[in-house]
Symmetry: C2
Subunit: 476 residues, 2 copies
C-alpha cells in the first residue's frame, strides 16, 4: 500500500540500505502518474503517461534504459528539473512536455488541473516552470531545482533503428555527462555493437525476462493508479497491490509474440518462463496489413473498434441454429474465427472478391481471435501453476477497450471468476523500466509513492519544509 | 489387441450380448481398412479409405449416419454385397468403387494387390465381383452374398446442403427399404426439419460430443491400422490400442473450430468437453481465402507444403541475432507468426503491396501458427487433466504431413516427450461413425477385426468353412 506521508531522510536511508526485490533502488517517494488532463495542451500529452518522481536525487541519474523488441524499440529516461533547466539543447517534442499538474491544484478529487501553474513543481521538468510561472510562489525555498524529475517513455518501430539511435545520441548530448545504457530485449543483443560504437557509451545487456518482472514488480508495488481491472462498466478500476499479496503471479507479456512468466517471489531468480505463443501483436499487425489497408497498428485497433465480427466469424448459433445446451455453449459464442469467410466468398450469390468483407469486421474478428487465444492460454498456464493474479503487459493492448474486455472476459469465463486479469498504464515499458531500475546509482531508494487523488499538496509542502529543517539540523 | 482368428458364432453371440462401450454393436470380425493400392483403378479410390466388414449381417442395415458441421457435411453408410447386387440404381462414383482387395492376395506383406480379382470378396460390393470375376473360384459355397459389405465415407461442403440431401435421397432409393437417419453435428439440429420432411424419413438427433467419442472409441479399439504416430522418419507408425490401456484420453477434434474432450472410460457418460478454440480449420480456410487465391482447402494445404514460413514469421534469431539461451529458445523458434510482414510491407526498399509475399509462404506460416496453437492448448489441457494420450480428429488434418508434424512436435516439445499425439485415418468421420454405431440393429456384434497384413486369407476361409459346418450342425 502507499502512504500519503513521505518518510524522513533517516527512514529513507534505512530503506536505501535494504536490498530490494529485483535490485530496485529508486526513490519513489511521492511518485505519481501524470494524467492527460494535467498537461497544458494536447500537443504536449505524451503517448505514455509520465511518472513524476518528486524526491528523486537528480545527481545520480546517469543512465537511460532501452528495450529493443521484434517490432518496437522502447526507451525510458529521467529528466530532472536541473538537467532540463541547464540544457540549451533542442530536445524535440519528447522532452518539451508541459505539465501543470503540481500547481497547487493537484489535490482536487477529479484530478483535473485548473490551468494555473506555479514553479513549485518538484518532479516537473524545467520547461514547465519556465512556461507556467506563477506570481504566487511563496514556497520557493523548499522547491529545490536539483531535486525531482520525470520518468519519460517513448517508443518507435524497431525497423527505424537509425532514428532510435539518433534519439539516444541527442539524449546523451542533453544529459551532457557520461551516460550508461541499460539495454534489454532481443535487439540489445542484435544491435549491441552498433549501440556501443555509434554512441560511444558503455552498454549493459540485461536479461529480458528478468527486466520484465523487475519493471512489473516496480509498477505494481510502487506506482499508484498504475494497475487496474477492466470491465465495460468500469474500464479503469485501480487496485493497489503490495509485495505481501502479489505472489505468485503470472506475467503475460504480449509484444510481437507472447511470453508467459511465473513469478513466485521478490528475489531476482524467483521467476520462470512457463510458456509463450507466436500468436501476438506481430500476428495481428502482420495479417491485418496483408488483408486491410491499415498503415499503423493504432489504425487497425481503431478500425476494429468499429467492426462487427459476426459477419466473418462462425458462431455456435450459425452451426446449430440455436445454442448447444448440453455443453453450455451459447449461440453467440464464436465457434470458428473467420469460419464464415470461405463459405461467403465462394457462395454463388456473392462476388468472389475480398470486398465482400469489411476491413473493420476483419480487424475486429482477428483482434478477438488473438486476444481470446492469449486469454485462454494464460488461463491454462495459471491453472497449471495455481496462480490467481494475471498481469497483462506488452505493447499489444495500448489501452484498447475491446482487447482488454476480451482478455478479461476470457480469464473470467475459463476460470469461472476465480482468476483476475490486471492491466497496466505502462504496459509496454516493463522491460525498459526494469532495465532502468536495475541500474543502482548511489542514493536511489524507494517507498512511499502517492496516489494522485491523495496528493495533499499543502501537507507535502509542510513535510518537505520540515525535512529541510531536519536536514539543516543534522548538518549543524 | 486384435486377433487373427475370427471367433465362432457361439463366441460372437456371447459378445453380442455384452453391452458395449458407447452402445457400440457392430460386427467387426475380420474388419480392415482398404488400402489405396487395392483399388482396381485410380478413379475408384475414395477420398477416405473404406472399411470392410466381412462378417456383418446385411439384413439389419437400415440406417445411414450423417454429421453436419459448420463447414463440412459427412456421411457414413454401409453397402452390402446383397444390396449392391440387387440394385439397379445409378449410384454415382461413390458407390461404384472397385476393389480387388480380397482376391486371395491380400496377405502379402506390403499390402499390394496383384490385380487378379476373384469373386470371393466377402465385404466387397457387387460391382467388384461383377467387374473382376475370376475363373478360379473354388470357394463359392462359403462366399455368402448376403454377408459382408463396406462402410463408405463421403463429405461435401455444408453450404451445398441441397446436394447433400439429394445424395441421401439417392442412397435411400438404393437401399430400397425404410431407412433411418442418425444425425449429429450442429447442422442436424439446424436442418432437422428439412431432412425429415424432404426425405420423408425418421431422423434421430444425436449429441455431437458423444458421437465423436463413440466413433473414436470404435476406431481405436476395433479397426486395425487405423491409429498411428507421425514422425518425419516414419509418417505412419500404426499402434493398436485396447480398451484396457486407452483411458483416460483427450480427443482434440479440429473442424471449423476445435473441441477438446476428456474421455475417462468406456461408458456413454464417461466424458466431458474440457475446452476448445475458435482457431481451427475454418480460420485457416477463411484467412487464406482472404489472402491467397486458393479455391479449396486442399489447394491451400498443397500450397503450404511448398512454402517457407521464415519469410513471413519472425524467428527468435531475427530478434536476438542468436538464440535466447537462458530460457532455451532456439534461434529457429517462431517468436511471432507473421511478425515480419508489417516490417517488410512498410519498408522503403520494397513495394507496399501484397505481392511482396508468396502465397505458399503465407499458407505455410498460417498452417504452422494454427497447428502449433492447437498443439499447445491440447498439451496444456492434457497436463491439467493428467492425460498421456492425445487423439487428433476432425477434417482439418487430412493426412497432411506438415500439419501432423507440427501437432506431433508441439505435443512432444511441450510435454518433453511425456505425451503422445495420435492420428487417425478416418479422422474426419468420428461423429458420423459414432452416430452410425449408436444405432443398434439386432444382431450387430463386434470384436476381432484384423490387420490387413495379418490377413491370412486361406486361414479365414478355413475358419469360415468350419463355421458354416458348425452352423449347419447347430441347426440340425
Amino acid at each position: 500500500m502507499t502512504s500519503t506521508i513521505p518518510q524522513s531522510p533517516v527512514e529513507q536511508d534505512v530503506d536505501n540500505r535494504i536490498i530490494n526485490p529485483g535490485s530496485i533502488q529508486i526513490n519513489v517517494t511521492g511518485a505519481f502518474i501524470v494524467d492527460e488532463e494535467l498537461y497544458e495542451d494536447e500537443e504536449s500529452i505524451p503517448e505514455t503517461n509520465d511518472i513524476v518522481l518528486p524526491y528523486q536525487n537528480t545527481e545520480n541519474i546517469s543512465h537511460i534504459a532501452i528495450d529493443i523488441g521484434g517490432s518496437l524499440a522502447k526507451i525510458v529516461y529521467f529528466t530532472s528539473n536541473q538537467s532540463v533547466n541547464n540544457s540549451t539543447e533542442d530536445l524535440g517534442p519528447l522532452i518539451n512536455k508541459k505539465i501543470n499538474c503540481i500547481n497547487g491544484n493537484g489535490n482536487n478529487g477529479n484530478n483535473n488541473g485548473n490551468g494555473n501553474s506555479n514553479n513549485n513543481g518538484y518532479g516537473i521538468n524545467g520547461n514547465v516552470r519556465n512556461d507556467s510561472i506563477s506570481s504566487d510562489d511563496s514556497n520557493d525555498e523548499i522547491l529545490d531545482p536539483n531535486r525531482g524529475g520525470i520518468l519519460n517513455f517513448y517508443k518507435i518501430e524497431t525497423e527505424k533503428i537509425d532514428e532510435f539511435i539518433q534519439f539516444i545520441a541527442k539524449l546523451i548530448k542533453f544529459y551532457n555527462k557520461k551516460v550508461h545504457i541499460m539495454a534489454t530485449g532481443g535487439g540489445s543483443f542484435k544491435f549491441y555493437d552498433r549501440l556501443r560504437d555509434e554512441l560511444n557509451v558503455q552498454v549493459s545487456k540485461e536479461d529480458e525476462m528478468e527486466c520484465l518482472i523487475v519493471g512489473l514488480d516496480f509498477l505494481i508495488t510502487e506506482i499508484p493508479d498504475e494497475v487496474f481491472l477492466y470491465t465495460e462498466q468500469n474500464p479503469m478500476q485501480f487496485v493497489n497491490h503490495t509485495k505481501k499479496d502479489i505472489y505468485p503471479y503470472l506475467l503475460v507479456n504480449i509484444g510481437s509474440g507472447v511470453s508467459m512468466v511465473k513469478v513466485t517471489g521478490p528475489n531476482h531468480d524467483d521467476f520462470i518462463r512457463v510458456g509463450g505463443s507466436s500468436l501476438g501483436g506481430g500476428t495481428l499487425w502482420g495479417l491485418l496489413s496483408l488483408i486491410t489497408n491499415a498503415n499503423s497498428y493504432d489504425e487497425m485497433l481503431s478500425s476494429a473498434a468499429q467492426g462487427d465480427n459476426t459477419s466473418v466469424d462462425m458462431l455456435v448459433g450459425d452451426i446449430y441454429g440455436t445454442e448447444y445446451n448440453k455443453i453450455g455453449l451459447k449461440s453467440s459464442a464464436i465457434a470458428s474465427s473467420f469460419g464464415k469467410v470461405f463459405k461467403k466468398k465462394h457462395s454463388k450469390s456473392t462476388k468472389t472478391n475480398k470486398s465482400t468483407f469489411k476491413n473493420e469486421d476483419i480487424s475486429r474478428s482477428l483482434l478477438y481471435a488473438i486476444s481470446n487465444n492469449i486469454g485462454q492460454i494464460a488461463y491454462l498456464q495459471a491453472k497449471i501453476h495455481d496462480i490467481q493474479h494475471i498481469y497483462f503487459g506488452g505493447s499489444y493492448i495500448r489501452g484498447h477497450p475491446q482487447t482488454m474486455n476480451t482478455l478479461s472476459y476470457a480469464i473470467n469465463f475459463w476460470s469461472q471468476g476465480n482468476k483476475k486479469a490486471y492491466f497496466l498504464r505502462h504496459e509496454g515499458y516493463l522491460g525498459a523500466l526494469g532495465a532502468f531500475i536495475k541500474r543502482q546509482p548511489e542514493g536511489w531508494g524507494r517507498k512511499n509513492s502517492i496516489k494522485l487523488d491523495e496528493l495533499n499538496l499543502s501537507k507535502i509542502r509542510e513535510t518537505l519544509h520540515q525535512e529541510n529543517i531536519n536536514e539543516q539540523s543534522a548538518c549543524e
